[in-house]
Subunit: 149 residues, 2 copies
Amino acid sequence: MPTEVIFRTATEKDVPAIVALLADDVIGAGREGASDRYLDAFREIDADPRNHLVVADIGGEVAGTLQLTYIPGLSRMGTERAQIEAVRVASAHRSRGLGREMIAWAIDQAKQRGCGLVQLTSDKRRSDAIRFYESLGFQPTHEGLKLQL
Amino acid sequence: MPTEVIFRTATEKDVPAIVALLADDVIGAGREGASDRYLDAFREIDADPRNHLVVADIGGEVAGTLQLTYIPGLSRMGTERAQIEAVRVASAHRSRGLGREMIAWAIDQAKQRGCGLVQLTSDKRRSDAIRFYESLGFQPTHEGLKLQL
């Protein structure tokens, strides 16, 4: 069985697998469904040089996904910050260090680009995820506030 | 004295005033300084259709600033989310409801664009700011994690 992980930019063909990962989640399940919007949204991400939708590919299978957004800003002497969203690992691939490898890879991408900061928010109900990010050096210094429209 | 607020896209001429606002802040003060990077960063923001640097202009003066970033994504049926960063109100204009007007304006922009969510993080030391966002309907459901590079 191949165990090598390849990090690559998602393609249109990966969209169903990524959406399945987003839906296969205690918190996210109720938010997904059948929609033509997914392909449109994929194309918007794919065409944006500051958004990078990534899959962790193991033997041709989408084992994990995350999205990187590079946000330009004036603060912190005008350095870009990297934001990580939509991190998911397929249930069959959990508890084997893949999440750690994915986040380490994302941090490395941000470093190579010259970002001053990597940021993300994690639902407070995901206490394991929060501990995981803290173990990677993230500091829970901020309150993450959301307003549904 | 003019009290009408005009929300407008920041121009290059506003950059020194915006940087001064970022630096005139208990938490942000140590992070700013003299740098050519500010103008480069401004041009990057200005050229990006998903980033909108805004000033609240009162009588030709920069009384406040915020940045909106529109993040495309697959999750939540492929709806875009709006993120608010770098919110600052000039000390002379605080405690008069300008911050509330700015955030209400930003939420309205996100609605008009069809975003499904508005999100932001606020330093946990800014307890007044957090209460302020909660009073506007934001829910503190997430942990905001940051990693300095």
